[in-house]
Each structure stands twice: as C-alpha cells, then as structure tokens.
Amino acid sequence: GQQVMQIPQYQHVQEGEDFTTYCNSSTTLSNIQWYKQRPGGHPVFLIQLVKSGEVKKQKRLTFQFGEAKKNSSLHITATQTTDVGTYFCAPQAGNTPLVFGKGTRLSVIA
C-alpha cells in the first residue's frame, strides 16, 4: 500500500525565520493536497497540486510538487505567530481514500 512520510515531525522557529515541511511517497501520486490544523481546531484545506513540477504560491506559502510526482514540499517565508499549527500533506494515488501524513507541528517563537 501507499507509504507516506512527512518530515520533520516538529519544527520550532523564531518569528521571521523560514520553515519547510516535506512529504514523500513510495508511489507515484495523482495529486497531493495540503491542510493546516490550528491548535484545538480542525484541518483546513490549503491547496492541491496535480501537475509534475507544479509550484503554487499563496502569499508567504510556496507549495511544490516533485517532477516524479512522489514528493512535495510546503515552504513558509518569514514565519509569523499566525502560522502556528500542524501542516498535513494528503497524497492521493488513483481512486484511493485520502490518507494523511503524520503532519509537521510548527511552533513560532515571538
């Protein structure tokens, strides 16, 4: 079955520093989604990547899909305290249930 690894598990940064989380799959993906879960909240959709090598930006967030469609990354430039939360990737291969990575918990120190 599909194996998903998300790293790092935790990341503590000073406000203003950059942050990156990576999602790696053992199989070629049809698409990948990213979600953010604030402390005490529920996951909220951020973006979906479909094309090989795709790069999408949302303000300070940059999402990339690898050329082989097996890995993806989320990069946050100049983190702010509002970025605190857990970021989950949700890769999908064909008509399979949406399975989430274990997430990267981001703490931002003001």
Partner: protein, 114 residues
C-alpha cells in the same frame, strides 16, 4: 447547512458502553469520510462513503467499529464495547465527490472512554 456538523462535540463514556457519533455533511456533498485523531497525532482514515456505492471500510480498526450513511446524507459512526484506546477526536469530512476534491472537515467529536 453552511458547514459539516458533528454531534456531540464531546462524549464521555464508560468502558464497555456503545457510542454513536453523528455527522451532517454539507448539502450536496456525495462523499463523506471519517477519520480518527489521537492526541497530538495525525489523522487515521477509518471509512468513506461515495454516493450509493459500497463504503470503503479498509481503515476500520476492529469489528467494534461500524458506520452507515442514510439517504446519502447523514452518517453515524458506531463504536461498540468501547475501550480506553478508542479515546480520540473523531473527525468527519465531506466533499462533492471522492477523488481530486478538497475536504471540508467538521469540528469533531472528542470521545473519552473512562
């Protein structure tokens, strides 16, 4: 409704009791998912429904867990003979159709088994 609604928001039960958790998806959404999230952990897939198709139950951890979806809308997740390790947040999500669509999550049911 405006969003995915789950009830109850909190449930405390005694070991061995049965519990039912309810999910009202967004109107018009044909796909519905159940996930479980233990404290500080990721989301564990349990089951999903797509329209009138047979549900994918591949994530259910034991035969104590079951779910149904009546009339293609409301879903109920039932846990029989609850155990302490069942304590977690149970999240429901819906989407227009399975595959390539973003999920809208409810606020979850916090289940505590004493």
């Amino acid at each position: 409704g405006a969003g995915v609604s789950q009830s109850p928001s909190n449930k405390v039960t005694e070991k061995g009791k049965d519990v039912e958790l309810r999910c009202d998806p967004i109107s018009g959404h044909t796909a519905l998912y159940w996930y479980r999230q233990s404290l500080g952990q990721g989301l564990e897939f349990l089951i999903y429904f797509q329209g009138n198709s047979a549900p994918d139950k591949s994530g259910l951890p034991s035969d104590r867990f079951s779910a149904e979806r009546t009339g293609g809308s409301v879903s109920t997740l039932t846990i029989q003979r609850t155990q302490q390790e069942d304590s977690a947040v149970y999240l429901c999500a819906s989407t227009f159709r399975h595959g390539n669509e973003k999920l809208f999550f409810g606020s979850g049911t916090q289940l505590s088994v004493l």
